[in-house]
């Protein structure tokens, strides 16, 4: 088993230590001031936990949820009701079940229960919401926030209604806030670097490519949404045990905007960003609040009382951040990923792992077959009754002029488009309506005409997530990825960002990613586009090796005749949605109909010259 992780141990350590140090420093600063200052800092640390909750979902999925503070609210209310002395609970919330009403739990227990309850709520709410489209999630989570507010503000007998709750024991001090914040940092980082975290990030980078490697969009989002709910619940619980009072508006629109601003300004993609953003925005917020009461700036001029200045300032900061600094102060990177740190710690080449991509027995293998596939859209017949057969271990070239239907056929084979007629069969199972991720998990991999890189991930992460997508655990995935990178000659680039790779490498990365899913059938869409002669020869050699070592069948869409002739034992020609001829490369190349399809009649004579 290959012990090397996706990042060097030193980089991982730095990524963890820096945010923790920042938390500790914040606590130290807080302890050194007045009691009022200490309380403010404590609250900032509670805020941080909520922001980290936001980061877990928003940062990793790339989808904005406006409802997370609903979970902070639920956590706060649960924790409050569990700790308010029984006499007071009876007064404020007469219809609360006696079990809860009488409870006077320790801060720790109430916080844990609050976290669990919020997590459960997130799971229940997220189940339907994560099924909605990417654009609808911000709206439906916003609706959840308002619904939560509505319920909390109107269910007087249980929640105290719009007057809220008082007499909450003030048990959160600076130390406990700092400790919980540290735990939250660890949780957020651990999730980000877990297989589930990687799969979710893949959906953020490129949804289509993520589906092609077996990732289930809804599932991964729900996992992150739930963890986010837990963290927000804990943050809310701790906050309310600091201030001692709670009302429905505490965790509503203003707080949503504030925490979102903190995340965006710091950089949503990294835990470091969440920490830095929270501290930066909180500082500015406090400064502006001071000005609200009127202050003199550098002794030069005075500002009178301006309530709401802080809120305006916050809005302006958010606006400027979106326009000028969309990736935030941290540029979306963790502490250990800063170029200088990375360069000092070169990646050591992996030792080839014997446990290369092997597929569990009993998986649908055998030949891939398309029967009489027809597909039309917008009145155009793109495919008309096309058959295709890909036996195990074979390399089939698919050629034809632009618009012939080659990519569409591959889309049908890989589940991205449903045919109007015909079927797709894998082994002896009909798979026509299977989703791309299901097909990937059954051993069908593909690449795309555009490389679709996971630009925000490193090269090795991009490939490892391919293995994780089909359910392979993180450790093994790393080994497989290192192996595949070695084979493709990309090992030296392992730690570099995938988005910055030159075009030839990005195409290879697409292939590597598909290979990491341990495919039995690999569909390649114009892998040689943009490659020069030498790169093309290397690609041909790599692909030949793949067929030989992995026992994988390959379908190759190409316009580059040289590559097709080099690699394929059979070639199928499509024109205008129909198969023109299927045969070995030499016959096909000289076939009059083929020459005509590409070039037109007057070149026919020369084909035979």
């Amino acid at each position: 088993m290959n012990g090397r992780g996706l990042r060097s141990p030193a980089s991982a350590a730095v990524s963890l230590i820096v945010p923790l140090v920042l938390v500790a420093l914040t606590a130290a600063v807080g302890a050194s001031g007045t009691p009022a200052f200490e309380e403010t800092v404590t609250l900032i640390l509670c805020n941080l936990i909520v922001v980290l909750g936001l980061q877990v979902f928003i940062g990793n999925s790339g989808v904005y949820s406006f409802g997370q503070l609903g979970f902070a609210a639920s956590g706060a209310y649960v924790a409050a009701l569990l700790t308010i002395p029984a006499a007071f609970t009876a007064l404020q919330t007469p219809e609360l079940p006696k079990l809860i009403s009488d409870a006077e739990l320790t801060p720790l227990l109430s916080t844990l229960i609050a976290g669990a309850a919020s997590g459960l709520l997130a799971l229940v709410v997220g189940w339907p919401l994560m099924r909605t489209s990417t654009l609808a999630i911000p709206i439906s989570t916003f609706a959840f926030l308002i619904v939560a507010y509505n319920v909390l503000a109107n269910w007087d007998e249980v929640t105290g209604g719009s007057s809220g709750l008082v007499s909450i024991p003030r048990t959160t001090d600076l130390t406990s806030a700092a400790l919980w914040a540290s735990v939250a940092v660890v949780v957020a980082l651990a999730f980000k670097r877990s297989a589930s975290g990687y799969r979710l990030q893949a959906t953020r980078e490129d949804e289509v490519a993520a589906r092609s490697i077996g990732i289930g969009l809804m599932r991964e989002r729900l996992i992150a949404f739930t963890i986010s709910g837990v963290l927000c619940g804990i943050g809310g619980a701790l906050a309310v045990h600091q201030s001692g009072v709670l009302s429905p508006t505490t965790f509503y629109f203003a707080a949503s905007v504030t925490t979102l601003t903190m995340l965006v300004v710091g950089g949503a993609r990294s835990v470091l960003g969440a920490v830095v953003g929270t501290l930066a925005v909180a500082t500015v917020n406090e400064l502006l609040r001071n000005f609200e009461e009127g202050a003199s700036v550098l002794g030069l001029f005075s500002i009178g009382e301006t309530p709401g200045l802080a809120a305006i300032g916050l809005g302006l900061i958010l606006l400027v951040a979106m326009v000028a600094l969309p990736e935030g102060l941290s540029r979306g990177r963790e502490a250990g990923e800063i170029e200088s740190v990375r360069r000092r710690l070169p990646a050591r080449p992996a030792s080839p792992s014997p446990a290369a991509a092997t597929r569990p027995a009993g998986e649908a293998s055998g030949r891939l077959r398309a029967e009489a596939i027809s597909l039309a859209f917008s009145g155009l017949h793109v495919l008309r009754g096309v058959d295709l057969e890909l036996p195990p271990g074979e390399a089939l070239g698919l050629i034809g002029p632009n618009g012939a239907g080659k990519t569409t056929l591959v889309n049908v084979l890989s589940g991205f488009q449903a045919p109007d007629a015909g079927r797709v069969v894998l082994g002896d199972v009909e798979v026509t309506r299977w989703s791309p991720s299901r097909l990937a998990r059954a051993g069908l991999g593909r690449t795309f005409q555009a490389a679709l890189p996971f630009a925000g991930l490193s090269v090795i992460e991009s490939v490892a997530v391919g293995a994780m997508g089909v359910g392979i655990g993180r450790r093994r995935a790393v080994g497989i990825a290192a192996n595949v990178l070695d084979r493709l000659g990309l090992s030296e680039q392992a730690q570099r960002p995938a988005g910055l790779q030159p075009p030839g490498n990005q195409r290879l990365l697409g292939i590597a990613r598909a290979l990491a899913t341990a495919p039995r059938h690999l569909l390649l869409d114009e892998p040689a586009a943009g490659l020069n002669d030498e790169e093309r020869r290397e690609l041909a050699a790599i692909l030949r090796g793949v067929i030989h070592d992995f026992g994988c069948a390959i379908l190759l869409i190409e316009h580059d005749m040289n590559l097709v002739m080099d690699l394929c034992s059979r070639v199928q020609v499509l024109d205008d949605g129909r198969t023109v001829v299927v045969g070995n490369p030499e016959e096909v190349q000289a076939h009059p109909a083929v020459v005509e399809a590409y070039l037109g009649t007057s070149y026919l004579e020369d084909a035979h010259a």
Partner: protein, 231 residues
């Protein structure tokens, strides 16, 4: 009229055009052929302002086109008939045309409808009900209504039946005789080279061959660009 010097276009880290040089004189009909992925569409998109070029110069009637918005380039007199036609399906045929006519007077529209009677028949129908060939005629009519100085056509024969292609090319022939300056991009090399007085062969983002009709029709470079080394 149109001059390209050292045009280089790349996106997402991939370079699709490397130092392309080309010129189109007034009244000329120039063809661009080459296999898919050669960069033909990228070339047109760069000219029309849809894609930024990373290096090189594009000038039209002496004026640089770099950095101009697509609508500004269109107003300078360049009209594109794009790949896949891209007519507005939810608008009627007449509305598609009216959009292009832009107050050039209904006279121009009447003329076009005279010329293409099938469009006049279907004037009030939604454009997405037209057949492929009819849509292509609509797309060309739309471009013509702008009274363009330069007409650019991106794969006009794509997805059309041979007979329909003949009809479309019949229209293009008339335009050629009228002296409309045209830039024609096609994958079908023979037809294009035959139609245009001058053509370029683009492959791998570079110009591999260029010349007059007769020169190219027997040039092995063309075959090689498409069919690989075997030939």
């Amino acid at each position: 009229m149109l001059e390209l010097r050292g045009l280089t276009v790349g996106y997402g880290g991939v370079e699709v055009l490397h130092g392309v040089e080309m010129s189109v004189e007034e009244g000329a009909v120039v063809g661009i052929v080459g296999p898919n992925g050669a960069g033909k569409s990228s070339l047109l998109r760069a000219i029309c302002g849809l894609t930024r070029s990373s290096a090189g110069e594009i000038s039209f009637e002496g004026r640089s086109l770099r950095g101009l918005a697509p609508e500004e380039i269109a107003r300078l007199g360049i009209a594109l008939v794009p790949e896949g036609r891209q007519i507005f399906g939810t608008l009627t045929v007449a509305e598609n045309l009216r959009l292009a006519a832009q107050g050039n007077g209904s006279g121009a529209m009447d003329q076009i409808l005279e010329r293409l009677p099938v469009l006049r028949e279907r004037a009030e129908q939604r454009a997405d009900r037209l057949s492929g060939g009819e849509q292509q005629q609509l797309a060309v009519a739309r471009a013509l209504l702008r009274k363009p100085r330069l007409l650019i056509l991106d794969e006009p024969s794509l997805g059309l039946a041979p007979k329909t292609i003949d009809v479309v090319y019949g229209l293009l022939e008339e335009l050629r005789e009228e002296g409309v300056t045209m830039l024609l991009v096609e994958q079908n090399a023979a037809r294009t080279i035959d139609f245009c007085r001058r053509s370029l062969v683009l492959a791998g983002g570079r110009v591999r061959a260029s010349g007059r009709r007769e020169e190219l029709q027997r040039n092995p470079e063309v075959l090689r660009a498409y069919m690989g080394r075997q030939l």
